[in-house]
């Protein structure tokens, strides 16, 4: 199984590098003005939006949340170096934040490539009692370094991410890999924008084990030991956006995630689902107004 995981990670990272190299070569052979392209692709500057509204979140991983939602999206780039932050971002407003630091090292008319450090998930925490004693199984968010390639053709975008974690809590010999592929398209209907996004997230067995596994030492009579294989989660998201003013956006969104069997079969998740009556699929819905600075 580990051989297969290594192959998948190697394939994804190779695909990103190959894409980068191939498009670099292709762009260089075109007689277009490179300085002009650089201007088009430069993202130096900032973006900040703060949104609020009503939302509902239900997931097998976390407690159900309903009510007021706060969403903050920020990005600052200087000479290619960037920092990104998402608090309560669409599709995952339950978790607290996503953070990325990186360098946008190459950009063409259609492609942009980043080297980055990213925190991609949030902490998993499971609290329960055994013989009256409080127990907790928890894992820090997955963080790692890697590459991101973003292709853009008009209103269609393709994003590839490959990350390798150096988290000291993982076994030193473990290959902890994370890869994601996202495809999005925006349709303009009068002044409304309908955005569709589908994606797949791959987690290596080591990462799955870190997040959803139970070691022999952690196991007790309530939670049995579990060592998951790698898994792929699939997400589909749709949102409808309307610009009320040039700095005010109205948004309705809905996202749906199907987790891998390896995740759902984790005794932590199975018990949490049973006790909290959590669903097998993650569903997010929100109606928000964003102020864009």
């Amino acid at each position: 199984m580990n051989y297969l995981h290594n192959k998948i990670i190697a394939f994804l990272l190779t695909a990103i590098f190959t894409t980068c190299t191939a498009f670099s070569f292709a762009e260089e052979t075109q007689p277009e003005d490179k300085s002009q392209e650089t201007d088009i692709n430069s993202r130096d500057g900032y973006y900040l939006s703060i949104g609020t509204g009503l939302g509902s979140y239900e997931s097998p991983l976390r407690e159900e949340q309903n009510g007021l939602v706060l969403v903050i999206n920020g990005r600052y780039q200087w000479k290619g170096f960037f920092a990104e932050m998402g608090i309560g971002s669409s599709g995952s407003f339950g978790p607290p934040s996503l953070t990325t630091l990186g360098y946008n090292f190459y950009g063409t008319e259609h492609w942009s490539f980043d080297a980055l450090y990213a925190i991609t998930d949030v902490a998993v925490e499971f609290n329960y009692k055994v013989d009256g004693k409080a127990r907790q199984i928890s894992a820090l968010p997955m963080s790692g370094v890697g590459f991101r390639a973003l292709g853009s053709w008009g209103n269609t975008t393709l994003q590839l991410v490959g990350l390798h974690s150096f988290n000291s809590e993982f076994r030193p010999d473990a290959d902890v890999g994370y890869a994601a592929l996202w495809l999005g398209h925006r349709w303009q209907i009068k002044n409304w924008s309908l955005n569709g996004l589908v994606g797949a997230k791959y987690r290596s067995s080591s990462l799955m084990n870190y997040q959803f596994g139970v070691t022999e030492s952690e196991a007790d009579k309530v939670v049995s030991a579990y060592e998951p294989a790698s898994g792929v989660d699939y997400t589909a998201q749709i949102d409808l956006t309307y610009p009320i003013r040039k700095n005010l956006l109205f948004q309705i969104y809905s996202s749906h995630t199907q987790f891998s069997d390896e995740t759902l079969h984790s005794p932590i998740i199975e018990l949490a689902r049973k006790w909290d009556n959590r669903p097998a699929k993650e569903q997010v819905f929100g109606v928000l107004v964003h102020y864009v600075f």
């Binding site: 088009i40 692709n41 993202r43 973006y47 999206n73 990005r75 990104e84 998402g86 971002s89 669409s90 599709g91 996503l98 990325t100 950009g107 008319e109 259609h110 942009s112 990213a118 991609t120 973003l150 853009s152 975008t157 994003q159 991410v161 994601a180 996202w182 999005g184 925006r186 303009q188 009068k190 002044n191 924008s193 955005n195 996004l197 994606g199 997230k201 956006t241 610009p243 009320i244 003013r245 040039k246 700095n247 956006l249 864009v292």
Partner: protein, 134 residues
């Protein structure tokens, strides 16, 4: 004393002409064109913007006027012997659009208003939401 009368007549004529010019200027100044909306907003720079335009004009006295739209200097509608008018249309715009009112028998622009085009996100090869997904 004999030469005094032509001089007085000239002053009389001049004052009359000035009065006519002043009245005409006042009449032109009284013509007001108003537009809704003043601004059309899209999500991203480069998107086409859809607007239901309502134009309305008023003058102190009846006259003959035509409403034009720029770019293209397209004649949208004309009115005859009337002191107010309305015009509506569904517009698809990708740049600022001006509407102006002219007198039917001349090309002089009497009143002009514009609908500006604005966007939330500037044109970029990378959509702003990309960092939200991992």
């Amino acid at each position: 004393m004999k030469n005094k009368y032509p001089f007085i007549f000239a002053i009389y004529l001049l004052s009359n002409v000035q009065s006519v010019v002043a009245v005409e200027q006042s009449y032109k100044d009284s013509i007001r064109l108003s537009l809704k909306p003043k601004e059309c907003v899209v999500l991203k720079e480069g998107d086409k913007c859809y607007a239901s335009v309502k134009a309305q004009w008023k003058a102190n006295e009846p006259g003959s006027f035509c409403l034009f739209r720029r770019p293209g200097d397209i004649k949208m509608k004309c009115w005859k012997d009337i002191n107010e008018g309305r015009f509506t249309e569904d517009l698809v715009m990708d740049e600022q659009v001006d509407y102006y009112l002219v007198q039917a028998d001349s090309s002089e622009i009497l009143s002009r208003e514009k609908i500006t085009l604005a966007w939330v996100n500037k044109k970029s090869s990378r959509p702003e939401h990309t960092w939200r997904i991992f």
